[in-house]
Symmetry: D2
Amino acid sequence: MIHVTVWNEFRHEKIDSKAKEVYPEGIHQQIATFLEEDNFTVQTATLDEIEHGLTLEVLENTDVLVWWGHIAHQEVTDDIVKRVHQRVLEGMGLVVLHSAHMSKIFMKLMGTSCDLKWREAEENCRIWNVNPSHPIVEGIGEYIELEKEEMYGEHFDIPAPDELIFISWYPGGEVFRSGCTYRRGNGKIFYFQPGHETYPSFYNEGVQKVIRNGIRWCKPTQNSYPVYGHHEPLETISELGGRQQ
Amino acid sequence: MIHVTVWNEFRHEKIDSKAKEVYPEGIHQQIATFLEEDNFTVQTATLDEIEHGLTLEVLENTDVLVWWGHIAHQEVTDDIVKRVHQRVLEGMGLVVLHSAHMSKIFMKLMGTSCDLKWREAEENCRIWNVNPSHPIVEGIGEYIELEKEEMYGEHFDIPAPDELIFISWYPGGEVFRSGCTYRRGNGKIFYFQPGHETYPSFYNEGVQKVIRNGIRWCKPTQNSYPVYGHHEPLETISELGGRQQ
Amino acid sequence: MIHVTVWNEFRHEKIDSKAKEVYPEGIHQQIATFLEEDNFTVQTATLDEIEHGLTLEVLENTDVLVWWGHIAHQEVTDDIVKRVHQRVLEGMGLVVLHSAHMSKIFMKLMGTSCDLKWREAEENCRIWNVNPSHPIVEGIGEYIELEKEEMYGEHFDIPAPDELIFISWYPGGEVFRSGCTYRRGNGKIFYFQPGHETYPSFYNEGVQKVIRNGIRWCKPTQNSYPVYGHHEPLETISELGGRQQ
Amino acid sequence: MIHVTVWNEFRHEKIDSKAKEVYPEGIHQQIATFLEEDNFTVQTATLDEIEHGLTLEVLENTDVLVWWGHIAHQEVTDDIVKRVHQRVLEGMGLVVLHSAHMSKIFMKLMGTSCDLKWREAEENCRIWNVNPSHPIVEGIGEYIELEKEEMYGEHFDIPAPDELIFISWYPGGEVFRSGCTYRRGNGKIFYFQPGHETYPSFYNEGVQKVIRNGIRWCKPTQNSYPVYGHHEPLETISELGGRQQ
């Protein structure tokens, strides 16, 4: 049983009538709904809650954190970002969705600007699977097609992904590395492009499948945490230092 | 339930008294034994069986193939190598152990000589985990220590692994990339260094755990196989080709 | 001074009037022409020459081999493929163009089918630079646009590239990893997609720049070749094997 | 001509008699000396200078910045770290030496703790070349041996390197990924392990060669900087969005 916390900025859905129409209870609730149909224990957290809903206790009980944010990245306090960062390094998984590419936590983990090209133009988009043996694409086939998605285009200023999973095509002539995995410390991270607040991408079966697979892939590996700092030798070294005769 | 076939050359254990003593029923039987304790369905196959025990039917019913070979790589027929290769590209997992680094099937999948330095000197060896979030190291901790293992040293002539999992230390002054993953076609491959025929490495609990984890990691992803060849456009292209005004 | 050998199958340009019109002296001559403008020593070789023009002497004097082939991959003898393969492992660079993705030498180095989707439909194509700090993209900017190129689409059955340099966009809705680097043995390999025999891609300034940069990137590293086989310890190991008290 | 700035914390060499003995004019001066023998334009900068010697003007005229720090990482101001970070994303190369693995700038670029095991015990160390075709190992051969170096051991908490160049062996039983490359934004980064302040590693010919090669590898690629933000379509998209009939 994987414990998932779905974090959402939850601002667009309160103030933007289009976003409200598509996600009346918030993006987090829609994600929680399709996760609960599966074998996950799900809770949600949002920006305007105390500590953004991400108390030490919540994070300690989170195997995988799903993150959606857009217009209020700067309102996430540095203390909470540091806390989430520390938990990722300890092993918590992180699924980063759509405009969260410029969230403080993703930028802190990547070390780059995470900037890109974008356009909202009611365009369709085709998300090509370029890693057919990866568990994240289980059941996906060759591509996912969305009738409408925000265009995100290269250059995407990220480190080269550990594994490139998806590349998106847009009719305006752009491409985008839209599914990327990373490891940082003991934690696994999956970035996935879909999810504009006024488009119904989180109702798409393929998108839902990828997020579920992504959460499973991100779940912590049970192991002792590496030990750092001063280290006594494991071998007798007094006799060493001389070359073989 | 993962269907595993353990393939062994099974020659040393018939002719070499030391190997016979350590693995009286063959390396394949010892591997099968510790796999059966887990949630795997296991069968074995050996070089001297008809079609080396790797009939079309056997391979079609194999999710993950484990391969051990050493002195008789050249006796594996090219037809069977081609058949195994095809099954890996279709999605079958492959766990390559120890001296199978120079098996025909591994070399065909890698495209390099797969050569290395080696020495049999009753040395100890320490296999460091350098990828703590990877499922293959689940339950392993910081390292596995073996009292005796054959030294394998760099340079190891392999493509840069997709994921480097282990690096080994040897008292004679050498290091070795001893746990490496690759993807080829729809298939996943895991190379793991331990397993000299006269040393009891396959009785070591850590080695057993890694092989079990490796098999789970290698299991096929359920998906449609990609389509290749001539491809009709998915978008109307007659209006295209002109640049935006 | 880099010694380049440009190898071309040189069949289309003899029998196909369109190819003849675009490349009257053969694709190899056009490539040689724009390389000679730069700081390279260039020779050419073609399929129908003795030993396909790739004698031991020619290869020994080649720093980087450029390869174009399409309809006659099977006519390249296995002996010559083996010879080229050996030279790559020893350090010779290899630039693989367009339909040479299914040449014997590229498949042997990759270990996969190297298959893909394709379509000849007079489409335009946009080759996006996704690796802006790489020397192969020096002077290229954000993308290269070609008025006409054959569509090559995912899934492209290659190992994950060591470095992904370009991703192509096609109007029919496809994407393609069109610039990929690999290392095999001591050798460097660069695959680049453009170059259909009836389209003038090798007259395009951007394409020419990439091939020149690719050759420079592929040039051999001066070093001693690694030693393989039995290896005496570099440290005194008699006192070892016991753990630190 | 590559413009190199060698930055040194320059504290040990003022207060620690052993460090003073080995590097009487500071580590930066020793590095500058062996770089000046080559085709580089070299300047130095140290922590206690105004703006740590890293004014906007200095950084704008720096192609590659070499960084050594240890006991005073926290004294480097966040403003200067941000400035150096921005320059790396714009294309400046960065060579990170030894204990600078925990410098603010390296940690910011990596997104991890960059922690490791360490020990000062007058041990020898063998730095194995595991990437023989890489320009950074030009002229190095199979390994570099140092009579004395501080032990740095795994797990090293870094992202998986884009390219792994060296793995070090230590007599106490440890291994370390001691040569690693990364790309961040338009910039290239090379981490190299040797260089403890009381050992003469920067007088070692092999170490010097690697640092020179590393600087050459890190030099900026001449190109336009990618454009981010709102992006007009490059293709006419009004006719699109419908699937092929």
